[in-house]
Symmetry: C2
Subunit: 514 residues, 2 copies
Amino acid sequence: MSRKRGGGRAGNAARRGTASIEQMPWRIPVNTDRPTEPLDEDGVQAIHDGAMTILEDIGIEFLNEEAIALFKKAGCRVDGTNVRMDRAWVMEMLGHAPAQFTITPRNPDKQITIGGKHIIFGNVSSPPNYFDMEIGKKVSGTRKQCADLLKLTQYFNCIHFAGGYPVEPVDIHASVRHLDVVFDKMTLTDKVAHAYSLGKERVEDVMEMVKIAGGLTEEAFQATPHMYTNINSTSPLKHDIPMIDGCLRCARRGQAVIVTPFTLAGAMAPVTMAGAVTLSIAEAVSAIALFQYVRPGTPCVIGTFTSNVDMKSGAPAFGTPEYMRATQMTGQMARFYGLPMRASGVCAANVPDGQAMWETSNSLWSAVQSGTNIVYHAAGWLEGGLIASPEKFIMDCEVLQMIQRYMEPEITATSPAEIALDAIRDVGPNGHYFGIEHTQKRYETAFYQPFASDWRNFEAWEVAGGVWTAERAHRIFKDIMASFEAPEMDEGIREELEAFVARRKEEGGAPTDF
Amino acid sequence: MSRKRGGGRAGNAARRGTASIEQMPWRIPVNTDRPTEPLDEDGVQAIHDGAMTILEDIGIEFLNEEAIALFKKAGCRVDGTNVRMDRAWVMEMLGHAPAQFTITPRNPDKQITIGGKHIIFGNVSSPPNYFDMEIGKKVSGTRKQCADLLKLTQYFNCIHFAGGYPVEPVDIHASVRHLDVVFDKMTLTDKVAHAYSLGKERVEDVMEMVKIAGGLTEEAFQATPHMYTNINSTSPLKHDIPMIDGCLRCARRGQAVIVTPFTLAGAMAPVTMAGAVTLSIAEAVSAIALFQYVRPGTPCVIGTFTSNVDMKSGAPAFGTPEYMRATQMTGQMARFYGLPMRASGVCAANVPDGQAMWETSNSLWSAVQSGTNIVYHAAGWLEGGLIASPEKFIMDCEVLQMIQRYMEPEITATSPAEIALDAIRDVGPNGHYFGIEHTQKRYETAFYQPFASDWRNFEAWEVAGGVWTAERAHRIFKDIMASFEAPEMDEGIREELEAFVARRKEEGGAPTDF
């Protein structure tokens, strides 16, 4: 299946859809804030030592036979599915992982950098359900809704990559779902795409489609990451068969891997945040060590999804103080291991209201504070990830744009022109700064301009209909849908993608067990 | 008017109203996060040098004649109302200001500490209008609504002081308004109170009422701060007559003073954030230097209210990226001068919805990041301070409680018991942590418990009525009002307060010019 054509790049050039709103330009933000670090050096050592002790003495279960064989070959102590590994070996393997790498999608202008001080954001991924203000209730996801959310993913420059399915289109049979959604993703967006590690066909099909869309030979595909997969461990202490399989397939072909344990403190992890983070670190680095063994230098990211449950109901909670601290602690550990880090934009709220935004703000700001490099679910997430919502997507993008603006160094520049003593002297005690040259020269770019926030006073807002934020977001959503233009794609590439999908559907797609 | 009785304290003991919700205990949070500092050392020096140059070369207008005489006496260069002061003198004066102090209200258990790593929160202050979900529109404030918001101020342990009027009760004549509201404040709350510096009668009356409520002699009153005033400069470059007068009255009697320039970048201040902060610093320290000259050691706080306007409309914006950075920059300057700092919980939103919470979250988290010591308007603020809302108050208190919880060091503790290796070993790869002893011993206090957030899944939430956050907050507001019990007050003190109010009303209260 190697691609012969090296061309097609020209047709992949970025072309934005008709602007429905004024938004900020595409940019990979650089987070220059010193991370918030709740752990002292002893604390970092304690978690590291705890994680290493888990790996050495307790071991991690790897259900994947190939992984077991690899661990044996590497000299780890294997007992059935239980793998124990020495910290020296683990640290040696982690030492191979790059601290920073890029992923290049079909439009090279949309290349993302993961690591260092960069922070990038992606769409909500994998909710089975959908809510919007027009439907007004929770419904099962469809391909149409998934495509709409992909259009938002493409439309907003503050969304840097297309993560998992923004909503699971349950109206498509699971055996061919990945083919249709990835086709939609490849044609509706030109941003970095993701493959679910849920069986070899799904991973391999996505890799082929990314190759086709990018007009890449196998050699070019393998030369640098063009896509990635993200896996969760089966906490506590376990990695399942297909996820490790998918990662091994990606790693061997030079693609990127994110390992994100889902360690809910009090449920699948200790009730203490240090315990939950320690378990998460052990699970993540055990897999990353394996991938480094298989292919030293594999681009890997350590993910955190440590939150807490509601101890009254057992329901997961998100954007809590505990979640924030766990994210910051994991950030410290990621830097300790020299690995890029993933966190999320999450909430427990069911609708795009005040709770949704304080919980999401908490989680997004903790991503900033923790030095997170890649933020999953940064737009559109509700109900602990069970619902995707376009209104929430729009609202979150306002917050993301503010974070992007927050990171622009111009705001805090202190040259004489910015200290503005001449203007202060000229305006004196009786004037104002509205019309003066110092203001005129700068006012168009001096401040963040919102698109979803309404800054009018109450009376003007009321005359305009008194529209609350979620409803305003709905209108913006509709406007964007009405004016959306897909990014350009070479017709030949599009036909090749269609042909691939048709052939793979004929072959039955991916096996399902239902 | 000095009080003869030293007693009455017993009756002032804290007694909480019947609990309508489970809330966190009263506590003065300690913010151990290293502040976020966007300025390097040169940047701090540039703003300092800019502010000092303003004071030395441009000067600040002081309309208050007493202040002018004092500046002359201190050797400053006075030209009409323009005062220029040397940086050496300013820095000498600032050197007298305490880095930390306490204010003790009638209930000494509700003493607050301002400075160091402490962070405390107060109610929204001074909106002329009110909005609640039952009324559904913006209306002029009344004494009843003001009292309701004072009850919320008292009820929530995460609210540490009663700032200005939580809504301006415009149904009371301005000449006696302060008497009625301060009477309500003294009887409905036992927390630290504030006096508006709007004419000598208002300030002196509040001081007398604080003395009566606390059963204090004049000597005891002056021995340590029991209340405070907060003033704004008239930016750019000006301090008006009554505000400086009120501060001088407070300073001379040992009470605390907060100086908060209102420097909207692009309107009353330079369009550049460094310029707006520089102007703000100059205005604030000019007044604080005066108060230190009058009474060295006067407890002073440097306030920030630097935000930006919407350059399309000129309307003020709040909780913006520029606001956050200005707050952080001011935090650096406050530490440079060794002064405690005040910031705010603010938004431009008109109703308690998503925008309200992302803007307020931005402002509150920037208060945390900046090392702010006292946060004004932390609960209940809407429409850039023109509206007070009980629902917003409730919603903000949820965020404040999360911030308080976020600051509890237990969350990030890393002792062996918290790393929990034994539990991880015992549970192994096939169990969960719900029922185990390690969880059972901790689960009641392990995680933040919300009171306004709804963590149920969508279906359970829908069955319970599908209530959005603002409406839930309204119900909580009603519950608290229904069960509110005022803190205990000695009957003799209450009568004395009533008599004072009656007498001062007979005397005509405070003069008004309308």
